[in-house]
Amino acid sequence: MNPADRFLADVERVRSVAGAGIGLRAPHYAEVLERLPRLSFLEVHSENFFHAGGAALRVLARAREHYAVSLHGVGLSLASADGLAQRHLDKLAALVERIEPALVSEHLCWGAVDGMHFNDLLPFPYSREALGLVTERVARVQDRLGRRILIENLSAYVQFRDSAMSECEFLAELSRRTGCGLLLDLNNLYVNAQNFGFDAHAELKSLLADVPADAVGEIHLAGHSQGELCLIDTHGSRVCDAVWALYRAAIAMLGPAPTLIEWDTDIPALDVLLDEAALAQQMLAKTELAHA
């Protein structure tokens, strides 16, 4: 079977939540459950719900009664050369079973080696060796979870001599080989384009020409900040105009896609997130008309 055909149900699920969502973070738990704002989905970091019980899990379970949920992993470390953490994968599988999420995603990165974890999203050379390894890992994760996962492009501050291809070429090939979907983080793409001096729009166009139309299962939008040396992917401010422009270009090519407003540091009032989500929703509505 074509790897992509295995995941028709997951592709269908993506269509069902092809609107704007926000990250559900602890400061907003009570308010979201009380107000139940209109959103296509809520996204959480998978690892924060790996435990057996307690208040946070109760919140997620209640949120799940009203919303589709996206589980976004930050700790699986798919590209670690010395092994995939089976216990971590088992916990993710248990959470997927418990929450029945619409979307499950992870990053194209590594974070651990020799038993030591940096709990960060670290880049690696986009080599043939790495492609083989990550292909095998993604296939293993999808087999374990029994569903398609989305892999997110990274914001990185350094580049490797041993890279044989660009990150987008790597992701496109990974998707072709495993049937995995892509989580297109447009802020990350923009940050990298600025830091490494490439054209984000050209890169986006070439990526989308390279993968099947339904490969992109989600889009992330976030803010960044200007560091001393480069742009830093802080997820701590509003989406900038240049990233909105990339977003309009992306959905014009793709059609409507689940779109997350991602905000992890200096978390503002819920209404600020909802404002950003409403902006994304307006742009999606226009695209929908154009695609209708």
């Binding site: 690892e47 924060n48 790996f50 435990h51 057996a52 019980g53 307690g54 208040a55 946070a56 109760r58 930050v74 700790g75 699986l76 470390s77 590209a79 670690s80 050369a81 010395d82 953490a85 971590h88 916990k91 590594w110 974070g111 651990a112 080696v113 020799d114 038993g115 030591m116 974890h117 940096f118 709990n119 960060d120 670290l122 690696f124 050379p125 080599s127 060796e129 790495a130 390894l133 501050y157 350094v158 580049q159 490797f160 001599r161 041993d162 560091g227 040396l229 480069c230 830093i232």
Partner: protein
Amino acid sequence: MPEARSLLEAQRSLAAAVRSSAQQDALVLLTGDAARNAELLAVYRGNAVANAGKALALSYPVIARIVGDEFFEALCRAYWAFAPSHSGDLNEYGGSFDEFLAGFPHVAELPYLPDVARVEWCVRRALRAEDHLAIDAGQLAGLTPEQLARLRFGVQPALVTLSSAWACARIWQQHQPDFPGEIDVEPENAECMAVHRQGLRADVAILGVGECAFWQAALDGAPLEDMLAAGFACDAAFDVQAVLQAGFARQFVTALHFDQD
């Protein structure tokens, strides 16, 4: 152009740069200006330390309040050097903070800190333990002596007993954000305590020595008879009624099991 290295070698080199500032092996892997790359690798190092620090701050708010935020940050950095994370789930990070504090000379004048850390780690685990359904003390009322002789208590998954040479339970209680009074603890008072869940909330209860032995026996799976023996062995004036009443009110007990002959 240097020879291609394996992915594992590259990751080990980057790990050394992030972990210990040993950047030489990592720098040769990167394109662009080496001096700039050295600073960028330091950004990754800063992220790793900051992420670990945020996790510790969530698990050890009382320690942070006692030592102040600035010193707590320094503690986090030193702890990261002492014990790196081993899990992709940062919520698991920090289990050996007590051990680190016990050996860290700059907090030697606060000798109760390691035990406070132990209490906080148990609280953290309690908050994330499996949910429980407590049973009512009334369920004991109708039991026959023959049933009582075969009785074992099932207890809530979060329950842990601790004893300390220091007044750690009071220290913990008085450093809670909702504690109404002024902080006023004599640390030099030994205490026994139970960390437990009350619904979704975690709490630390001060126990008598006999009471502590009694519930520890329950945690060990002992029958009621042995729980009582443990209680009286530590405290001749052990008050069974009061201890059971308090334990049920704190939702310690979730089931009554009767041994079959």
